[in-house]
């Protein structure tokens, strides 16, 4: 649906987004994941047409080059600002008309989406009286009003309290059925919860992408966590020398061993512990999570 090719964005010769390429498939919910300052907002702004790429191309499937992409896109900025003197409903009708809806149609859809995002009760209140969560939901409603093929949400839940977050995530879960969603977040669990695909961004580049399952599978490494009665440091060099251990490091209370072959290494480890009578207090087999992948990429 969307093809991004070699897009770079520089501010004063400083590349904020550096040569990224990816494709978005229709009907998917894609999370753009990355730490603060990774270039997520800049990427979304370029896709929505608010910024022009320094180089590279963004193409919308089935559209002529140079045509107005904005007809097919709904966008929610990170901190949406509205005309505070308007009511929620007035604002939706206004932006609906700006997206070429007739007044009647815009009014009808405004009511529908106010209901859909759960702020119908507040439709005749001035927006300046809205809470943060209500504004975020009004923001989602305005992104949807012209039934775009795709909506882009910039950090839709980051600024919300736990209840608001849960509500917006549930709403996104529902919206997945009717439109393509691209949203940015720096919180992995949000991405894991609603998205089908992940784009992992770091320092302006897309460092990893794929479906959630693919990524889980690809980066699944086995780990063994060990802990000893006395100081772990003493045992670290000895553990390191055992066969089949890729790396070993100290993590708080544990020695974490990343290994290749679980069966073989577990055997070797347990034998060693038994024969040398190491004061083992903990032995745990675990699998690396996406969070480890995230951390690995970000700390690189």
């Amino acid at each position: 649906m969307f093809t991004v090719q070699h897009v770079t964005k520089k501010f004063n010769d400083n590349p904020v987004v550096n040569d990224i390429s990816f494709r978005l498939e229709s009907g998917r919910c894609v999370a753009l994941l990355g730490a603060n300052g990774a270039g997520k907002t800049t990427t979304l702004r370029m896709l929505s047409g608010l910024l022009k790429p320094t180089s590279g191309s963004i193409a919308f499937e089935g559209m002529k080059l140079g045509a107005d992409m904005r007809n097919h896109i709904g966008y929610l900025p990170q901190h949406p600002v509205f005309h505070g003197w308007m009511t929620g409903k007035e604002f939706l009708i206004y932006v609906g008309q700006l997206a070429h809806l007739t007044k009647v149609k815009a009014t009808e859809l405004a009511d529908y989406y106010l209901e859909r995002v759960g702020i119908l009760d507040a439709k005749d209140q001035r927006i300046s009286k809205y809470s943060g969560g209500m504004k975020q939901r009004l923001g989602i409603a305005q992104a949807l009003i012209h039934s775009p093929n795709m909506i882009m949400l910039d950090e839709p839940v980051s600024s919300l309290d736990p209840i608001g977050r849960r509500e917006v995530l549930t709403l996104m879960e529902e919206l997945k059925e009717q439109t393509t969603i691209l949203f940015s977040t720096h919180i992995l669990s949000d991405a894991e919860e609603v998205s089908d695909d992940l784009l992992l961004m770091h320092k302006g580049e897309i460092v990893e992408s794929g479906t959630l399952n693919e990524l889980r599978h690809k980066h699944q490494t086995s780990k063994i966590n060990l802990s000893f009665h006395e100081s772990n440091e003493n045992y670290l060099p000895m553990v390191e020398q055992l066969p089949g251990i890729k790396t070993c490091y100290l993590d708080r209370e544990d020695i974490v061993c990343v290994i290749e072959d679980m069966e073989q290494t577990r055997q070797a480890l347990l034998e060693k512990i038994a024969t040398d009578q190491w004061p083992l207090t903990r032995f745990e087999v675990s699998r690396a999570s996406l969070e480890d992948l995230f951390m690995k990429v970000v700390n690189k």
Binding site: S48, L51, I73, P77, V81, H83, Q97, G139
Partner: protein, 257 residues
């Protein structure tokens, strides 16, 4: 369609934030202040006192045309200031607050966005300025003598062109800068430079926008529209449209983030 939507939204905003109340009031005050104080000056002096005993205060004779030109004089000073203050945030304010992000991700042409806001501001300002001048005309007729209605309408028409230019210059800088303060500064500096240029070269620049009020005075005296007034009017309106066009072109290239 979109143009009307934005225009109507601006109008609604001017109702809600009481622009439709205060802008006319300011212009009425500006227009009537000078003629009224001049007329009542002898009475004011007498009541306020402070004149030395036996001093004779000779008031110059003031014609209706002079009185009307006083109103225009106030407009040229404080009127322009009010307009710049009222207009400077038109685009800059929306960009600074970030509302523009929500508007311009909808398929709105930049030309539509700017020109509709321009037209909305002009509507408020020109209507208010006209109300002010008509009020002033009413008092002038009562206090100083007859001035024909047609002449006043013509004067209002030509003087409005000057305000069109002032609004356009302010909107131009409003497209350029994000901070309303910067817009205010640059607009005022531009207008002052135009004034200075006109002062120095006035004999050669009879079609210069700043010459409008001089020509209007001439028109009121002679009761015919001088050619130079048509000329100055034309330059003013053409340069306004060109500046507006450049503003749109610059805005289109600009990154809105």
């Amino acid at each position: 369609m979109q143009w009307r939507t934005i225009f109507r939204k601006e109008m609604l905003e001017y109702c809600r934030n009481f622009s439709w109340v205060w802008v006319p009031i300011v212009f009425i005050i500006l227009a009537i202040m000078d003629p009224l104080t001049t007329y009542y000056m002898p009475i004011i002096l007498e009541k306020a006192g402070g004149m030395p005993e036996g001093a004779v205060f000779e008031m110059p004779d003031i014609t209706a045309v002079d009185a009307f030109m006083m109103s225009l004089g106030e407009y040229s000073m404080f009127g322009v200031l009010v307009i710049v203050l009222f207009t400077m945030g038109t685009i800059a304010g929306e960009r600074k607050s970030g509302v523009v992000e929500l508007i311009l991700v909808k398929p709105v042409h930049y030309g539509t966005y700017i020109s509709s806001k321009w037209a909305a501001k002009l509507t408020v300002i020109l209507v208010s300025a006209s109300i002010g001048l008509l009020t002033s005309w009413y008092y002038i007729n009562l206090l100083f003598g007859e001035l024909s209605f047609t002449l006043i309408i013509q004067a209002i028409f030509f003087y409005s062109l000057w305000f069109v230019l002032v609004v356009t210059i302010t909107i131009f800088f409003s497209c350029l800068f994000k901070s309303p303060g910067a817009v205010f500064g640059t607009s005022i500096v531009t207008l002052l430079s135009m004034f200075a240029i006109y002062r120095v070269f006035s004999h050669k620049l009879s079609w210069f926008p700043n010459s409008l009020s001089g020509h209007i005075g001439e028109m009121l005296q002679t009761e015919t529209i001088p050619n130079t007034l048509w000329g100055a009017g034309l330059t003013t309106i053409v340069s306004s449209l060109i500046i507006l066009l450049i503003a749109v072109l610059i805005f289109r290239k600009k990154e809105l983030a």
